[in-house]
Symmetry: C2
Subunit: 426 residues, 2 copies
């Protein structure tokens, strides 16, 4: 079974995973703890925004008709009724020849329809004497030097958001803009999808602990840390980090036990055709569904996946480069899908290839690449050493360049690339 | 002072902040807790990678000369000395006509120079009888059906990384690829720059708590949550969330107290020319350096900043849109700079504008926009409602489109845009 496994292409492998997937249940968390989580319900505006007629400036609330034709030479003089700080309610309506001093965000008094910003006005502590207004210490006047059109600097009810409007769709990741909207509508607690629980198991008797001294023939376990970082970047939770025992029955017991306790068991190594490839052996006698054991791709053709109940076993290559690519193509979609995210598969875009990739491929190749935006064009460029065993180029990649099966691609040709959300530009 | 403040442009304002800035000290954290943090020291390879000659495949370690000319019709027959699992050391050198069964990642035995993958071989439990080898139960032979070139499937010492090579520069954010390298070189603990400590203070008597019922003339405090999310996205730590009192002396006492306790006091609101704009009043009598109080930009021209000792006061507009833009242009650079990040200012790129922006501007305008990669081109498009008061479009923006001062920009023209790391695509 290790040799001559049936192959599927990348799209089919992703389909097999997603078809098996049931989104996780919702839970309620405080707004301050919801950042990075996935919204579990649609959020509609429960009231219009603004919910009252509002000044957009610090200035005077006026009737536009009263300042028509005002110029520095022929200003309009208005009696100031009151001062309306933001958050306070106006107490007096604005009649002809009247104004209210009003702050940004404050409610417009009845009768006012327009706000003139302070910079176009002057305040006077006096009455003309013959306007017939009652004279007292506190009486103030606004001199307006410029006509502004009706409605200027005023936000009408519902101008930004109408009551009932769909604001946030379920499946959105909660970031700054979402957080502001949730707060606006009073969500001190937010329904989010539970984080997937993930166990990360590494296989291979060549692996040393990160704090162990180097030994001939052995290497330190780097996939454990790379995978933990990747799982966390998908808003999932790592609940166990362990080493798979060399003994097949012990390995089976460990994996099966954790399949009952987590949503995803993620392994690295042991999937190939070697004599000690324990994950391959384990999948050859799997008590559940084997989804795939060989994919028409490089690197990581031996990437495998299985399911039992609602839990997934994602068995990645132990080669760091192949492990990384396998995570982004298959594991992240599972973790996003479990969270019912809107974007489950990696986002594809077309770009101009920089540099030749002459190598012929039987299978599609997913090259670690870097995106360059330059003068309105988008380029992708391989980041250098790209063998499946290579770790050093992972840090520099923000996309995977897809080289289709066949005779290679030349500099300047269009290629498809997949964005890597774990590795934002810069 | 509130009116007629001296203005600076955006670049100058950023310079004033960065000139005042001293990067924070380093601290040591466990590797598993270092993700998202900023590396405080350069990391060099302390040994070559690989540090031993290694098989890149599951197969047979051979001498290339012994399989020269092998074909399915004229295979080479090699005596198998031993099996070398990954992590074990070879015990026997490979002499003429000999091979070792070897697993991916295992150390090559002395004498071997090439690995033939299993798929091109067959194993036989027999000797020809006349080769003169000792006959016993365990004796096995490898039949090789294909010649492969010298060195194929073998990684030489230092092939991926040379000893002493600079691998990670200080100032890098630790993500999956960095984590893998740190683990490879035994960093169970990592020197990272301390997280900036930030106090977020909101001003405005119109602000309701997020769980309070709506009232006429009042709105819920959304900036607090938006800013907390943004600060966290810059790997900084929010240590206090408070409301600034309306009384100027109380406000001053609060801000000054926290300037001694945190790296950045971040406020929203109260910076404009209104009667109750307490941050503006506070900065008019500031016991320290006022860096700027007016910027030639829209939205958020009243964005202000001051310093005292090593601490910053960043006073953003209370309008959500202006608050968001002010954070990305001025506060994130401060938080990145304090962490000695390689990328401090927002990354600029040129893109094709989609849609007209005919509005004339005295000041440069920073429009919330969306990046579209299509057929090798990069487009940016405003995300809709863009007034400084508007919250609803923040969630949809992944860049700020820079509209220079002047007569507007037409569809299809090139513009500069700034990437927003808080809002990754998709």
């Amino acid at each position: 079974m290790k040799f001559n496994r049936p192959t599927v292409d990348v799209g089919k492998a992703q389909d097999l995973l997603l078809q098996h997937l049931t989104p996780l249940e919702a839970e309620i968390v405080p707004l301050l703890e919801s950042f990075g989580r996935t919204l579990a319900e649609d959020v509609h505006a429960t009231h219009p925004v603004p919910h009252f007629v509002k000044s957009g400036m610090d200035g005077y609330a006026v009737r536009a008709v009263d300042i028509q034709g005002a110029t520095p030479e022929t200003p309009a003089l208005l009696k100031v009724n009151e001062v309306i700080p933001c958050g306070s309610l106006p107490t007096k309506p604005i009649g002809p020849g009247e104004a209210a001093r009003i702050m940004t965000g404050a409610m417009l008094p009845e009768g006012a329809d327009t706000v003139v910003m302070f910079e176009m006005t002057e305040e006077r502590q006096e009455a003309g004497g013959d306007e017939g207004f009652e004279k007292k210490e506190s009486l103030k006047y606004a001199v307006v030097f410029k006509e502004v059109p009706l409605g200027r600097n005023v936000s009408q009810i519902g101008e930004e958001m109408a009551a009932g409007e769909l604001l946030l769709e379920r499946g959105r990741t909660i970031q700054a803009g979402e957080a502001a909207l949730l707060a606006t509508f009073g969500f001190s607690e937010v329904p989010v999808v539970r984080r997937p629980r993930v166990a990360i198991f590494t296989t291979g008797s060549e692996l040393l602990a990160v704090d162990a001294p180097l030994q001939p023939g052995k290497i330190r376990n780097s996939n454990r840390y790379m995978l933990t970082s990747l799982v966390q970047s998908a808003s999932a939770q790592v609940v166990s980090l362990q080493t798979v025992p060399d003994d097949i029955e012990q390995a089976r017991a460990l994996v099966c036990d954790w399949m009952n306790r987590v949503d995803v068991v993620l392994t690295s190594g042991g999937v190939s055709v070697g004599d000690f490839d324990i994950m391959a052996d384990l999948l050859d006698n799997w008590d559940g569904q084997v989804l795939f054991q060989k994919i028409e791709m490089r690197p990581g053709s031996v990437t495998s996946a299985a399911a039992r109940g609602n839990a997934f076993l994602c068995a990645l290559s132990g080669n760091p480069g192949a492990c990384f690519v396998g995570f982004e193509l298959f594991v992240r979609p599972v973790l996003h899908g479990l969270q019912a995210r809107r974007q489950v598969l990696p986002t594809a875009f077309t770009a101009v290839l920089r540099g030749d990739y002459p190598k012929a491929n039987i299978y599609a190749r997913y090259l670690r690449g870097q995106t360059l935006l330059h003068e309105g064009k988008v380029y992708v460029e391989p980041v250098g050493k790209d063998q499946s065993s290579v770790t050093v180029s992972i840090k520099d990649s923000d996309c995977l360049i897809v080289i289709p099966p066949g005779g290679g691609v030349r500099d300047g040709e269009m290629v498809t690339a997949l964005r890597l959300p774990s590795q934002p530009y810069a």
